[in-house]
């Protein structure tokens, strides 16, 4: 038991990232509200970033700002990649949000099922 617990604690960030990934995915899948979907995407993105950052982490490390002291620095590369990733996800989010606005203006709803129903009606099905 304690071995398992130790293992879990060792991997806690990874596990958390996986859980968040799955939750985000679940949000995207099960919710028909478009804004909710975007939130799900955000959560997924953060999960991946968390995973990335957790890779670079070193217990009792310090941020990689070189001061000349004898300390263990964490791995700086994941942070860099994540910095880029965050902005990318934000821009995607913004773009999808603007799409949602237009969808609401044209369809009168932001619910995917409703939109599908409206489209079906329009197509005469």
């Amino acid at each position: 038991m304690s071995a398992l617990l130790e293992s879990v604690l060792d991997h806690i960030n990874y596990l958390g990232a996986m859980a968040l990934f799955v939750i985000g995915l679940h949000t995207v899948v099960t919710h028909s509200n478009l804004i909710k979907k975007i939130m799900g995407i955000n959560i997924m993105g953060t999960a991946v970033f968390l995973f990335f950052v957790a890779i670079g982490n070193v217990t009792d490390g310090v941020p990689p700002i070189i001061t000349g002291e004898d300390v263990i620095y964490i791995n700086p590369l994941p942070s860099v990649l994540i910095l880029t990733g965050i902005v990318v996800v934000v821009s995607i989010t913004v773009y999808s949000l603007s799409l949602v606005v237009r969808i609401y203006e044209t369809h009168g709803t932001v619910d995917q099922k409703e939109i599908a129903r409206l489209n079906d009606e329009e197509a005469g099905l």
């Binding site: 060792d10 990874y14 996986m18 799955v22 957790a54 990689p64 821009s91 913004v94 603007s98």
Partner: protein
């Protein structure tokens, strides 16, 4: 309906289970022995101030070693703003009506 929801939940739980199982096999110790903490990292930490003059290694990598990534990322932002403008910018009334009608 309930059945469907439960099935979905089971699916996602199994996905999580699989992922968790896989994750547990990965190198977990957050130490310098981790595979990712290799010569690249060491080189960054040792030589970044002398090679770039920046003591914040993250900044050094961001704007020097991997500056091309950052360029790409600014372009993502640029693209997103152009895209949003192309969707949301108010055009004159006539074109809008044309495009929304039909």
């Amino acid at each position: 309906m309930m059945m469907k929801r439960v099935l979905t939940l089971v699916l996602f739980l199994s996905l999580f289970g699989l992922l968790a199982h896989n994750v547990m096999e990965m190198p977990g110790k957050f130490t310098v022995d981790a595979p990712a903490y290799n010569d690249t990292t060491q080189h960054y930490l040792d030589n970044a101030p002398s090679e770039t003059g920046a003591i914040n290694v993250v900044g050094a990598i961001l704007a020097d070693y991997r500056a091309f990534d950052t360029l790409g990322e600014t372009i993502v932002l640029f693209t997103s703003i152009v895209a949003v403008a192309s969707i949301l910018k108010v055009t004159d009334k006539k074109t809008r009506e044309e495009s929304h009608d039909e």
